[in-house]
């Protein structure tokens, strides 16, 4: 293969990207070497199995991905600002919207939420780590290398360009030759392994490792939403695994699943993709509901209204999420009967969701609302999400969907639910749990600036898109006609305001790191759940003594009764797992195997696969039992953390 086929050439924007990548990489290498931090990096981060550190790595990666896919979004909005704009050509635009969608869903929204789950769930249920810390590290590295594989397509080989849904036959070998689609398939496959493993891990953790006294219906609502999300992951991701595998085999080994030749059935890809894809939507929205519930009840200083109903509505939504996938292709011609069935099941989801909205509003009733940044993100969610929700019901009406489908109406709808739902929740959750993670709050004043910029920008960007859709503007076109210009320009302005809001958010992280007051109490928000009972910084074993829980606002209860979870006389040695480099190495090997398969270098891929199997064999013979933290060490840690 020629070097100029290997690297992407001919695009000034991509050359600029290459230069930026080289500069940033060398800067990181230089800094690590200069400050002699390589060993620290390996010991403290790359080999860690501590759920809190893994969670932080998830969130940092997700923020980086948000930046990358956000840049994609701004490029698209720039291209669409004028009818005669020639900033991106057709091919480049197609690549940009494909990577934007894929990264935002797979490499931003999910890892961000999984990162928060990593940090928070064991703390909320009084556990000392995940059920399988080793697997947790494996999951993170599988996501990390999957994201890396997807992102290098940008400079090596060429990005995928068939949309994040990658519909066949367009994405098959006949119509999309070359490595682009292989990057998509294998990167998703690689990170999918980790997601499935995380789902199993979280389920076992929540089912088996709760503190004594914490029955299922005394779990904090975020833990509940995590449990249900894991359930969806466990049952939805295998479908994606198979769909991706079949298309990969189609492309690389010439089978005929989704092809035009050999009586293949391209429709089947859409069917399988959305059988995973619709539950996937709930994988990223249910944890968001959990976060909002926690934040709203904390800053309203009031118990969550209708806890049981909130839980059951999550369960109901999860069940229905597996029964509505056809609404993504009502227009495929399956006939009025099939469409009627799925139309009704789709609209049925509005019922439990509506109930949740009213329960949040009722939580605010007779409360004492504290307008912190986290609370503002949560409050902004309610009206914004309602707009997204009601337009979702409109899309669910199949007969009307024939007009909405593939138009900007749809684009506006899913950005309204995914940004107002998931992204607001990520920000709310990050601001809320930030002191627990880093030992200091984010600056409130700058936080509110970023909030207002982002939220106003969001509405300015996406509200006009409903009307563009009704005016017949289809999604994924790389240029507009003059009639659509005014609304598009408004949207573009909004997008840039959102971009500024994000920049201010990131600046706030830096500013607060330098200037924020350090946290002393471990409970800066007067919290309600167990994670606030731990000192800050959280010791690596989380709880010196596993607490006994009596209600779902465990910490609130303890504060009312003047109890604490710490009692020096009851300390016992704590068993903890050892750090290990195996997850990192195993996934690095799989990364190279996948990379080889992208370019269809079969023997190299096979060698990599064998390498990964060997690593699994090594793991099988690994009888590392972990270590014990002795009582004296616990005493010392707790005294300094609790400032006793």
């Amino acid at each position: 293969m020629q070097l100029d086929e290997f690297f992407v050439t001919g695009e000034p924007l991509i050359y600029a990207g290459m230069v930026a990548i080289v500069l940033v990489t060398s800067a990181i290498i230089f800094l690590l070497t200069y400050f002699k931090k390589w060993q620290w990096l390996w010991r403290e981060w790359l080999t860690t199995v501590d759920h809190k550190k893994i969670g932080i790595m998830y969130i940092l990666s997700a923020l980086a991905m948000l930046f990358r896919a956000g840049m994609d979004a701004l490029m698209m909005r720039t291209q669409l600002a004028f009818p005669d704009m020639n900033f991106l050509n057709a091919q480049h635009y197609n690549e940009v919207f494909t990577t934007h969608g894929t990264i935002m869903i797979i490499f931003m929204a999910m890892p961000f939420l999984i990162g928060l789950m990593n940090i928070v769930v064991p703390l909320q249920i009084g556990a000392r780590d995940f059920a399988f810390p080793f697997v947790n590290a494996l999951s993170f590295w599988s996501f990390f290398f999957g994201a890396l594989l997807f992102n290098i397509s940008f400079v090596i080989g060429g990005s995928p360009d068939a949309g994040w849904t990658s519909y066949t036959p367009l994405s098959g070998a006949a119509m999309s030759p070359g490595p682009g689609q292989n990057f998509y398939l294998l990167a998703l496959q690689l990170s999918g392994i980790g997601t499935l493993a995380t789902g199993i891990n979280l389920m076992v953790t929540i089912i088996k490792m709760r503190a004594p006294g914490m029955t299922l219906f005394k779990m904090p609502i975020f833990t509940w939403s995590t449990l249900i999300t894991s359930f969806i992951i466990v049952f939805a991701f295998p479908i994606l695994t198979i769909a991706l595998a079949l298309l990969t085999i189609d492309r690389i080994f010439g089978s005929q699943f989704f092809t035009v030749t050999g009586e293949g059935l391209p429709m089947m890809w859409a069917n399988l993709f959305w059988m995973w894809g619709h539950p996937e939507v709930y994988i990223v929205i249910l944890p968001a509901f959990g976060i909002f519930s926690e934040v709203i009840s904390t800053f309203a200083k009031k118990r969550l209204f209708g806890y049981n109903v909130m839980v059951w509505s999550i369960i109901l939504i999860a069940g229905l999420s597996f029964l509505v996938w056809v609404h993504h292709f009502f227009t495929m011609g399956a006939g009025a009967f099939v469409n009627s069935v799925f139309s009704i099941s789709t609209m049925a989801i509005a019922v439990p969701t509506g109930v949740k909205i009213f329960n949040w509003l009722a939580t605010l009733y007779k409360s004492k609302i504290q307008m912190t940044t986290a609370m503002m993100w949560a409050l902004a969610f309610i009206p914004s999400f309602v707009i997204g929700g009601v337009t979702g019901v409109m899309l669910g009406m199949a007969a009307a969907d024939y007009q909405f489908h593939n138009s900007y109406f749809l684009i506006a709808h899913f950005h309204y639910v995914l940004i107002a739902g998931t992204v607001f929740a990520c920000f709310a959750g990050l601001v809320y749990w930030y002191p627990k993670m880093f030992g200091h709050k984010l600056n409130e004043r700058i936080g509110k600036w970023s909030f207002w910029l982002f939220v106003i920008g969001f509405h300015v960007c996406f509200f006009p898109q409903y009307f563009l859709g009704l005016d017949g503007m289809p999604r994924r076109v790389f240029h507009i006609i003059p009639e659509w210009m005014p609304l598009n320009q408004i949207a573009t302005v909004g997008a840039f305001v959102m971009g500024i809001g994000f920049a201010v958010f990131v600046f706030n992280i830096y500013y607060s790191y330098r200037h924020s007051e350090r946290e002393k109490t471990g409970d800066p928000w007067d919290g309600r759940t167990l994670e606030w009972a731990t000192p800050t910084p959280v010791p690596h074993y989380n709880f010196a003594i596993v607490p006994h829980v009596e209600s779902h606002d465990a910490h609130w209860d303890m504060k009312q009764k003047d109890k604490t979870i710490y009692n020096e006389s009851k300390l016992e040695p704590i068993h903890m797992p050892n750090s290990t480099g195996q997850p990192f190495i195993m996934m690095a090997i799989l990364f190279f195997a996948s990379f080889a398969l992208v370019f269809e270098w079969i023997w190299l891929a096979v060698a990599g696969l064998i390498g990964a199997l060997v690593m699994m064999g090594i793991r099988s013979f690994d009888y590392d039992e972990g270590h014990h933290v002795e009582v004296d060490e616990i005493k010392q840690t707790e005294r300094s953390a609790r400032r006793l």
Binding site: N271, G333, A334, G335, F337, V338
Partner: protein, 116 residues
């Protein structure tokens, strides 16, 4: 466990014999019986479900209380999802389209729906 002390695991032997019998029965139904095709399919699928049950309950001890109720609940939901995936795919992929070998088949289906 009751069968822990026994030398010969009765439960396993019974399960094994039953699964052999069920397999032979299914093969006979499919290859040698004169039942209508649809009944054969229903019958052998039912036999398969019974056999799967034998494996799960008699060999895999799915209701053994070593880890609580979660195992059988998860497997149960797994089978429900499997039914949704298979039946749902057939449902959505075969109705209403006018395609493939018989050009008129789809039309007939269209009309049937209209009458419904």
């Amino acid at each position: 466990m009751a069968n822990r002390s026994k030398r010969i695991p009765i439960q396993h032997v019974v399960g094994y014999v039953m699964s052999i019998v069920l397999t032979v029965l299914a093969a006979w139904a499919a290859l040698n019986s004169n039942l209508p095709v649809i009944w054969i399919i229903i019958l052998i699928l039912a036999l398969a479900v019974i056999q799967a049950g034998i494996q799960l309950f008699m060999f895999m001890h799915i209701i053994e209380r070593g880890t609580g109720h979660a195992p059988w609940q998860m497997i149960f939901h797994g089978f429900i999802l499997a039914a949704i995936v298979v039946a749902g795919s057939l449902f959505t992929m075969s109705f209403g389209f006018n395609h493939d070998h018989n050009d008129d088949g789809g039309h007939e289906q269209h009309e049937q729906h209209e009458q419904e």
